[in-house]
Amino acid sequence: MESYRGSLARPGAALLWLALTAAPAAAQGGSGWGIREENVSALVLFIVFSIVIVVSIRLARMGRPLFVRRIAGLNAVEEAIGRSTELGRKVLYVPGIMSIDEVQTLASLAVLKHVAKHTAEYGTPLDVPNKDPLTFAAARETVKEAYLEAGRPDLFSDDIVHYITYDQFAYTAAVSGIMVREKPAANFLVGSFYAESLLLAEAGQGTGAIQIAGTAEVAQIPFFVVTCDYTLIGEELYAASAYLSREPVMLGSVKGQDFVKLMLLAWIVIGLLIATFFGNLALQGWLQPQ
């Protein structure tokens, strides 16, 4: 509830409504404003999606109970940190290699906050090496606030979150070196990864660490699945912040997203039936974004 106070849902909705009502009128007036006709299908989906999410959030605020299925990887976070504490070794958190404009990185920072709070509570050393400078800056603030919230600002130091290099494989070499030399007991590989996913995960696997990975990069998921103990696949990563915080408002948005997925599934099945039995592909042109 608290995190929803002061959100921009109302002004955002008002702005969008203004744009939708003004655009056609302006287009008629020939002032250059208008809806991009080639992307009308995307506009419809955007409006439907936004309405469903906002309604779900409102229902969640009303106290309606929400069921979210168990996500093993997220349930194992505390177990992993606990293991590190018992062994007296550190926790390594790799927030992906992309910048802060990538949604996966933002999702990773939400998980990082949760991990940092636990490492602060247990007094477990944390290491967060970064490839992207903007991510590094954001991660530092996130970890600092997490330690503050946990009541252990004395344990925070600038060395926890540090920058390595912008080059993909130089970064991989550095992180692999940290894994092999310093042998963290728990490795978190959460965010956007590319070719270095297997390099990092296999290097970590060789040290015997418990590994929790999470990415929405479809090509890298198989590598994480075969080398890590737990893997968050695709949307599980994005649901992580809602799942870990258990805030009704955030869980409501996850439920709304599930409802939209159901709608899309129904749409696919209906389209499939129409195309198969009636051979009618008329809708195809409208659905294709230009």
């Binding site: 993909q168 590319y194 070719a195 479809v218 890298q220 230009q290």
Partner: protein, 301 residues
Amino acid sequence: MTALFQRLMNIDRRWLYLLVGLAAVIPILLPLNLPVNVAQSVQDLYDRVESLPAGSVVLASFDYGPSTGPENDPMADAFLRHCLARDLKVLCIALYPLGGVTEGAEELQRAVGPLDPANGVLESTAFPGKFYGRDFVYLGYKDGGQATMRQMGENVHAVFPREYYQAPVTDYELSNQVRGYGDVSFVMSFATGIIGEWWANLVNAQYGTPVAVGCTAVSAPKYFAYYKAGQMFALLPGLKGAAEYEYLVKQKYGQIAEATAADVYNAGKGWDVQSIVYTIITLFIVIGNVGFLLERRQRRS
């Protein structure tokens, strides 16, 4: 017997690394020339290039760096040589920030021979009669990713005012002629990571320009979805795709076969290595599973 399989099952991984290392080195030194089976996605690219009339322009984008050079370089070589042998014109750009620009320059030089446009050396030694600026040109690297692709759709000259060797693009016939995606027959992206998807999602979807991608093997499963959906008309999946395309091109063009044979490394050699390594991995997987099943049977009894 069971004991032997169990030992193999728990073998130190360094023995596996040694075998893989030998499998990687020996075929490079002693080419095996293993046969290839051409996939439809590769055949589609070959057929498209063969079907274009002489003088058609294609846009080749170097969207990879040195790290994926072993996979992407051979496909770029084969494609550039094929286009020049078919009398197509090639406009080259680079969009990958870490090394794309050098990869583009190197592969172009490898395909056409040493060039020095800044000092008037414009004719290709590998394809006599083909000139830099008229038959092929390299505009260099531009950052911005999708924003750059969008701007190119409006005005290529605004994005690339100068070519790689710093002459104004209007100075050369080919670069002057190409203003937007409508002036090219298709886009060929040699991609690592996500850039190939941007070409399909943005340029093909919004401008209708046909797009083909040569990608790394690890991205190939994802790109097949785009190929099946028609957002890419052709796909070269990894080193296998490069080897198949090189095979097709060598079959028809003797000069390309000679040039490829002279290369220290080419897709055929790379594919030999990959085939042997696949065989070793498969053998060890089978051995590992046999040992696992024998051990389980022993435990039950």
